[in-house]
């Protein structure tokens, strides 16, 4: 009960407070920008060729304001917004009216989750294991080679690196497709052919994220391990005749991993924002471009829908990490 009263309840209150505050800021920010979704649509109608008399334009503005639910004061809109939100309804997209925001996110989210969960998990796991070993066996030739590779790869701008991969593997050797999440004509079905096709299209975007993410994890973990390796308890274990495997696995890497676990939780939380540059370079479907277009078109509801998911994702990841941290670090106790 002490844990519940002294830690869990205050932590949960903080959790919900952060979400409320984040969502409120997300509600306000689009309304403070000069981008007006109603006028965006009117401008587009004019640009498309509609010749509108002033009276007709005023009527259109009134109709669109009503359809988009932008009537009334911000306070009234804020009330309506929460009334919808507690029912899990983000409302309609302004730019892609009358499509519902929930539906637009539902189409894009699986692709983002599929790509980013896998690439984050792989780059974290491989980067930390290899980085940990390289940090311990720091004088070995393979360790120095990997370190040099990571030093070259890591500073590369992601866009450039991704395009180099695209050029090499999609154009020069043509092992992978140039663009898209699946082939032209491929219809989503739960068949091995379709899954293979999706995996084939995901390979390059995933590879770009894994290599760059892995290089970062490699370098950080290598440094952490080098620091832990210099700790007196590790030296004592070596002098005490503890086997090398045990020292590396139990004494060094496990201790060095703690900050990396925090980083992993934050990375998983950020997945809901999408990976916009990956989506642009590889033409991969996902939340990133959806969010970008929502921002440029002043599509308040869609911006709020995606950002709220991201806020909830990050705060929940941190909450889970906080609550489970004693399992990773025995020194931490909520008693």
């Amino acid at each position: 009960m002490t844990f519940v009263k002294r830690y869990l309840i205050p932590r949960l209150i903080q959790y919900f407070l952060v979400i409320w505050l984040g969502i409120t800021v997300v509600f306000l920010i689009p309304r403070l920008t000069p981008s007006d979704p109603v006028m965006k649509m009117v401008d587009q109608m004019r640009a498309r060729g509609s010749t509108l008399e002033p009276g007709a334009m005023d009527d259109i503005i009134e109709d669109l304001t009503q359809m988009y639910g932008l009537e009334g004061s911000w306070l009234e809109q804020y009330g309506d917004f929460w009334a919808r939100l507690v029912q899990g309804d983000f409302g309609v997209s302004f730019f892609q009216f009358p499509a519902r925001v929930n539906d637009l996110i539902a189409v894009a989210l699986p692709w983002t989750l599929g790509l980013l969960l896998m690439s984050t998990a792989i780059s974290w796991t491989v980067g930390n294991i290899v980085g940990g070993l390289a940090g311990y066996y720091t004088r070995r030739r393979w360790s120095r080679v990997l370190d040099s590779v990571a030093m070259v790869v890591r500073p590369l701008p992601y866009y450039v690196f991704a395009f180099i991969l695209l050029l090499l593997f999609a154009y020069v050797v043509r092992w992978f497709p140039i663009t898209g999440g699946a082939s032209l004509g491929a219809i989503p079905t739960f068949t091995w052919d379709y899954i293979k096709d999706v995996l084939w299209h995901s390979a390059l975007p995933a590879l770009s994220l894994v290599i760059l993410g892995g290089a970062i994890n490699f370098q950080v973990m290598k440094l952490l391990v080098q620091n832990v390796n210099a700790e007196s308890y590790v030296q004592y274990a070596k002098l005490g005749g503890v086997t090398e495997n045990r020292i590396v696995g139990k004494y060094i890497i496990r201790n060095a991993m703690l900050p990396q676990i925090t980083g992993l939780a934050l990375s998983f939380g950020q997945i809901f924002s999408g990976a916009i540059i990956t989506e642009i370079v590889f033409g991969y479907p996902g939340l990133g471009m959806l969010l970008f277009r929502a921002i440029t078109n002043g599509d308040y509801n869609l911006i709020m829908g995606i950002t709220i998911l991201s806020i909830i994702g990050i705060t929940t990841a941190i909450l889970i990490l906080d609550l489970t941290y004693p399992l990773f670090d025995p020194r931490v106790r909520y008693t």
Binding site: F3, P34, D36, M39, M41, D43, R48, G49, S50, T51, L52, E53, P54, G55, A56, M57, D59, F95, Q96, F97, P98, A106, V107, A108, L109, P110, W111, G114, L117, A121, F163, L166, L167, I178, T179, G180, G181, A182, S183, L184, G185, A186, I187, P188, T189, D193, D197, V281, F282, G283, P285, M289, L290, R293, L323, T324, P326, L327, F328, Y334
Partner: protein, 644 residues
């Protein structure tokens, strides 16, 4: 209680959770089946029978919704350009208005209160139902009845009633006289399209109806689409001869046409180099890179300047005439004469733009009807420099000087007058900084010790030139060139790139912008009402409010009078329309609310591996863009190669 879970257990739980997350999307996709799609796998489309083009407006957000009468539905993914047919459409390459579902021009009553529309016989919707006047009447009545449908307000305000006189004639009674009412049905990358009555009348709410599969009168029908919006595939109708395209031009050649999303230029280039994209739309550098690498790609023009230079828009500089000192015509002319157009176009478009001295582009019918006949007036036109001195600013030699610079830089192109006029235009304005100086001094401007211009109140003259953030777009290209020219002239000019450009310009919060100096004309036919009407006083709003007319907020009683007379003129009376249109252009030149520079330049790369006979400059049988509505009219002319 936490210590009851071991770390090993936790790791197992995490592994299970991660697997679940990873498999989740695939499971979700498996349940995301799509209506109206045949079982299709990669390779369904035989490449030699398939044409692949790019969706200009990006990934489709609502791929299963084809109701183009509601909001925005990425209609350039094949709806407007293959499967739909308007009453009329604009072809800016030929300068003609194409009769689609209409069989000819509309006729107006003398008081412009009634318009009669003749319809084409023998047309059928893609599901086989015949197209008749009932469809047109139903469309007008439905759009009036539902305020969620595009075009609702215009038709509600204008239409008293619509009647089918017979199966192929519609008569529309108007509430107010409107000599341009029919242009709401004239497709220029958008218009009021005709609904299939037999489909829509079965729907309770046409606003929420998804119109899937799409039913239209174009020569193609929906084949399949990507639920993520990356591509839409269309198939030639078996009864293509019942579409206006088939009736007018014959059988479309590609069996399938796919519009595909490409997020960036790099992937477009790679796709065309590997023959996976027949039509690429690129930047100047992108086109250069493509032509350098590809043996099978061609540009719109076979020689320099390679670009598409007949897009119906005139680019340039737009002044905010509601803000000092741009409310002063002398200042606007001074800034015009401070520009060396040869250097300017070299910076902006590598000398590839076609100059126009008036506020319409040099293309289609405009050189013959307007720009050519205005040459004498332009040569005689003078501006008052002060102290009784006048200056004739027009320079018919400017295009030749642009051509000379291009040639001196190694570009090779024909030297005949016809090519030079078509490519570089008929004239522009002199580079006369000394006259610009006089105009400014006349209005109280002065220079400081460093030669920089000061405002009449003695403060430094700063000009902020707004544009969007995409440097390849023509607003930014004009901004870069103008800022360089004005800096050389001694003005502290800066280029302000912002995502909010359109919003700032709309409320008048800008000095100068890269918005078109004149509203885009139709691009076909003689009528300039679309351009001139934007300078109507009725549309001008105070700074801070959204303007409803041209972004410059410029207007004049003389222009209002010209617009009024144009409204009272039959749009099909070419002689009368042109006479008034020329008056309108002269009024704009005298006041120079924006500086017209060069016509919009586009960069198209066509791969000739699978398809040839593209509508290039040497054979411009129709407009060249696959995203334009009348791309369907090009499909009968394309020739398959078999991929050899």
């Amino acid at each position: 209680m936490a210590h009851e879970i071991s770390r090993r257990d936790l790791m197992k739980l995490l592994a299970a959770g991660a697997s679940g997350f990873a498999l989740g999307p695939v499971t979700f996709l498996s349940g995301n089946s799509v209506e109206a799609q045949d079982a299709a796998l990669p390779g369904t489309f035989p490449r030699e029978q398939t044409l692949i083009a790019r969706i200009l407006t990006g990934r489709v957000g609502t791929p299963d919704n084809f109701n183009e009468w509601v909001g925005w539905k990425n209609r350039d993914r094949g709806m407007q350009n293959l499967a739909n047919e308007p009453l009329w459409s604009v072809d800016f390459a030929t300068g003609e208005i194409v009769n689609g579902l209409a069989s000819g021009d509309p006729t107006y009553s003398e008081d412009f209160m009634t318009v009669t529309i003749p319809l084409r016989e023998g047309v059928a919707w893609s599901d086989g139902e015949p197209f008749t006047a009932a469809d047109v009447v139903y469309t007008i009545e439905t759009l009036i009845a539902f305020d969620g449908l595009n075009g609702h307000e215009f038709l509600l305000e204008n239409v008293e009633s619509a009647t089918a006189v017979d199966d192929y004639t519609v008569e529309v009674q108007l509430k107010v006289a409107n000599s341009r009412f029919h242009t709401t049905f004239l497709d220029r990358w958008g218009c009021t399209w005709i609904m299939p009555k037999h489909i829509f009348e079965q729907q309770e709410d046409p606003v929420l109806f998804t119109h899937n599969p799409f039913v239209g009168c174009g020569p193609y029908k929906l084949h399949s689409f990507d639920p993520q919006g990356a591509w839409t595939a269309w198939e030639k109708r078996e009864d293509w001869d019942k579409s206006p395209t088939g009736i007018l031009y014959g059988e479309p050649q590609p069996q399938f046409i796919i519009y595909q999303y490409f997020a960036d230029e790099g992937s477009q280039i790679l796709a065309q180099l590997t023959h996976q994209l027949d039509v690429a739309e690129l930047s100047a550098n992108g086109l250069t890179a493509l032509l350098a690498q590809s043996q099978s790609s061609r540009a719109y023009q076979p020689t320099f300047p390679f670009v598409v230079n007949n897009d119906p828009a005139i680019t340039g500089i737009c002044f905010n005439t509601a803000r000092a000192p741009f409310d002063n015509v002398d200042v606007r002319w001074a800034l015009t004469l401070a520009i060396d157009i040869v250097e300017y176009t070299s910076i902006a478009v590598d000398s590839s733009g076609t100059l126009s001295p008036v506020h319409i582009p040099h293309l289609g019918p405009y050189p013959d009807l307007y720009i050519g006949p205005m040459q004498d007036w332009l040569k005689e036109f003078t501006i008052d420099v002060g102290d009784g001195e006048t200056f004739a600013p027009y320079d018919p030699e400017a295009p030749r000087r642009v051509a000379d610079l291009a040639r001196s830089r190694g570009y090779v192109f024909p030297e005949d007058d016809e090519f030079l006029a078509k490519t570089f235009g008929l004239g522009w304005y002199k580079f006369a900084p000394e006259i610009a100086e006089k105009l400014l001094v006349k209005n109280g401007f002065s220079r400081d010790d460093n030669g920089m211009w000061l405002m009449p109140d003695g403060s430094p003259w700063k000009i902020e030139f707004n544009s969007g953030t995409v440097l390849a777009n023509h607003d930014a290209r004009n901004a870069a060139a103008a800022v360089q020219q004005w800096k050389k002239f001694g003005i502290d000019a800066t280029h302000f790139l912002t995502e909010s450009d359109a919003d700032l310009v709309a409320v008048g919060d800008f000095d100068v912008s890269g918005d078109w100096p004149g509203w885009e004309p139709w691009g076909a036919g003689p009528d300039l009402y679309r351009t001139l009407n934007q300078w109507n006083t009725a549309y001008v709003r105070p700074i801070g409010e959204r303007n409803q007319g041209h972004q410059s907020r410029w207007t004049s009683p003389e222009m209002d009078d010209i617009i009024e007379r144009l409204r009272e003129t039959d749009p099909f009376d070419t002689e009368a329309v042109v006479a008034i249109g020329i008056e309108g252009l002269k009024e704009a030149v005298k006041n120079m609310p924006g500086i017209p520079t060069y016509g919009y330049v586009g960069f198209v790369g066509w791969d000739e591996t699978y398809w040839t006979n593209w509508p290039g400059s040497e054979n411009a049988y129709t407009q060249p863009y696959t995203h334009w509505p009348n791309f369907k009219y090009a499909t009968p002319f394309l020739q398959p190669t078999g991929g050899a």
